[in-house]
Subunit: 221 residues, 2 copies
DNA sequence: GTCTATACGATGATAGAC
DNA sequence: GTCTATCATCGTATAGAC
């Protein structure tokens, strides 16, 4: 349990993260996993309770520092904005939401893990997993929403929530499948540099969230 | 195989669609599935080859008419625009992309199936599934991209592709989890009427795709 | 061609000895 | 905490009846 401990538990977590990401969850058997980790088959069920709970633990370990970074960034933005008497910038808030996820792909094992992330909504009902995900995101949301309300005061709450929902979807899809993007491009080379992608994503979502405010297109059928 | 035939094959497809959507793919055993369909266990492997291939067939059957609707709508928009000498409207093109998916939820069994859809990136690499999905979407893309280029001529191709990618992500996330949206809302009731959602989605994505064109926000760090 | 009964190997989980 | 042995269940394959 201690940080530097190559204990059975952390050993399992490390190997599980790698194998789940490489081969997928269902395709990774506990026998192969425990053999690769050099531990006994029964150790997974002893330490985690089930294979699915092990997956939860893998996600939890990755998500925790990521959401802590988000919280710190939002707090810094809001504090800084309050000091100047202005609302926090929309681009800054979106950066806070997106950057930790995109930067995770630069960490060792991070890219594979990010892909695993995106493949989450599968299998069973994944209800436990969704629940863990939302619980962790709770603190982020509770800071993000008030900040966004300051920044976009003209939006009613429903509209704001939906637009944040769409923005998260754009992020999720970006993490999930550069494959689809490359296919969209029909073989053309396409820029996938991380900072450029982040800029594009922020521009798209910022414009989407501001929709209707700066210039209103004429209504049609 | 004929439309009205309650044959073993269509019987399996019908029950599979329902059970996969209700319980998830992994959680639905072929034994339970074939028992519910009143067919023999081996019938699945005889008619479809494997459990995964059955899932493919379920998706394929739903996706085919959906993409045909999209193609017809895009063609109509482009034809109509050409007649007036104008580019097709961005909102119209996005409507074409989104509406058939949202309206699928109104068909019997459609909502559950839409959720299953979104849970696609599961298990193994899901490579076969992704491949089927992209193959079907091919004809849509090949009409959508030229139309979008007419409508947004100021965007370079990379930017256009990325923005379409983001828009598809917003759609996918919308179909996938109203659960997350409701959680975002923290218990507040939130409008989830289909036409309203469609309008919100179109407004968000249209603004995102036009980002930088109509009015330019000042650049910051 | 279609359907059935049955068997096989592998899986996730568990009980109990140490 | 760790191990071995064992269990029910899974997806799949096949042999043979209609």
């Amino acid at each position: 349990m201690t940080p530097l401990d190559p204990s059975t538990k952390t050993q399992i977590l490390d190997v599980a993260e790698r194998l789940f990401a490489e081969q997928g969850f269902a395709a990774t058997s506990l026998r192969a996993l425990t053999a690769a980790a050099g531990v006994n088959l029964a150790a997974v069920n002893y330490h985690f309770g089930s294979k699915e709970a092990l997956l939860l633990a893998v996600f939890d370990r990755r998500l925790r520092p990521l959401n802590e970074r988000r919280i710190a960034s939002i707090d810094a933005l809001v504090r800084q904005a309050a000091a100047t008497g202005l609302a926090p910038s929309l681009e800054g808030l979106l950066d806070t939401l997106f950057r930790p996820v995109l930067e995770m792909t630069a960490e060792p094992g991070g890219e594979a893990c990010a892909r695993l992330f995106a493949r989450v909504h599968l299998e069973t009902e994944a209800e436990a997993l969704e629940s863990m995900f939302l619980t962790q995101f709770c603190a982020v949301r509770d800071r993000m929403l008030p900040a966004l309300k300051q920044t976009l005061p003209e939006l009613d709450e429903d509209e704001l929530l939906w637009r944040l929902h769409f923005a998260i979807g754009a992020l999720a899809h970006t993490m999930q499948s550069t494959i689809r993007l490359k296919w969209l491009a029909r073989g053309r080379a396409i820029e996938t540099d991380r900072e450029t992608t982040l800029r594009r994503l922020i521009e798209f979502c910022a414009a989407g969230m501001r929709a209707g405010a700066p210039s209103r297109p004429p209504e049609g059928t």
